[in-house]
Assembly symmetry: C2
Homo-oligomer: 237 residues x 2
Amino acid sequence: MDTTTLYQHSTLADLTAGLFSGTLPVSQLLQHGNTGIGTGDGLDGELIILDGQVNQITGDGEVRELAPKDMVPFANVHFADYQSIGEYQKMDKDETLAKIAQEKIWNNIFYSFMLKGNFTRVKTRSVHKQKQPYPSLAQAAQKQGVFERENISGQMLGYYAPSLYNGVAVGGFHYHFISDDHLFGGHVLDFELNQASLGLQMFDNLVQHFPVESVDFMNFDYSQHHDIAEQISHAEK
Amino acid sequence: MDTTTLYQHSTLADLTAGLFSGTLPVSQLLQHGNTGIGTGDGLDGELIILDGQVNQITGDGEVRELAPKDMVPFANVHFADYQSIGEYQKMDKDETLAKIAQEKIWNNIFYSFMLKGNFTRVKTRSVHKQKQPYPSLAQAAQKQGVFERENISGQMLGYYAPSLYNGVAVGGFHYHFISDDHLFGGHVLDFELNQASLGLQMFDNLVQHFPVESVDFMNFDYSQHHDIAEQISHAEK
């Protein structure tokens, strides 16, 4: 079990361009990790993968579990082996991310963080399943569900990508949440933590897997879509 | 032996920034492929790897072989399994690259090409080994050796990277040459082919390996080097 490798299926640029159809079954994705984030077939909600269980938070805010045969268009996974860093207390989002970024000199590599504990407030969004012909990610995100809970316990799982990889991944931090009772979660827009333990895991390798069996992906003409990096920064912040 | 994966040690951005010290021994590099291109320790020449033999063309134009313990700062390797495409005849560089790009609809993935045959003219460059404190790649490239041969037989080995990966790799084509008599080679600047067979090999995966044990790499502040993409396009064309 390789705990030094981050696996990514497809790229954020592909998702931004509207390539929402699932191109990898969950059963294959989980061969490359038991922990991660992603989205469902047709941009169907936000995924947070913990202990090999693929939790999906739909655009209506429901939490379900994906089956091995379900397809995903985009996901990051790794085998969890977090280094325990310490306890964080009473910080808002900006303070938390700034402190995580200062724990290690890891700006030039991919790494993951895991915050487990209770949060004074968590605000999430989750995208709705789209129908073909697919809109762009930015258009789909305009109708996303936005949810908020106060005083909630759960896990916040995220990845850091070096800015060089913006477009391939989300440059900087990208993180999802799920409550311990599995009734709330999504792509995190904002939060304040009350008390949470921080784990960090660095990666020596990024395995970028391309959906080479997808005709839509192989034929997509990126030269007609110069605004993809800009769209990413709008849709994923 | 995985023939669907391209392995890259370090990134072109790191090289462009002047991180020239070798960070991976040849013995480890060759575990990930028997075919590839790269540069030597201290930006010591141009590498072209064929059948597990790491040929180095120095800044003086000499061809040597690297030993397993020699270190490299940057390289791409894969296990060769080329699909035979056909014979190319009497084309210049631009015609050849344009034709290769049209053989397959592979614009959105990494692939390799191999041209074997004889060339009316091949013009190469090779960089000189640098001493610390290292200059930038652009500065080092100003004093590179430039060489030219006419009517020469050999192999031209290259990679295509999608434009999304410019900076991580060289967006577009990046290729090196070695003559059959091993007396001439380098990073190709220009050529005219007389007759050559073309092989192509696509990759489902890019494994990006980071030099995590290099203090210079881990501490490098890219936020102070906004011009790296521009420098790449100058130094690698």
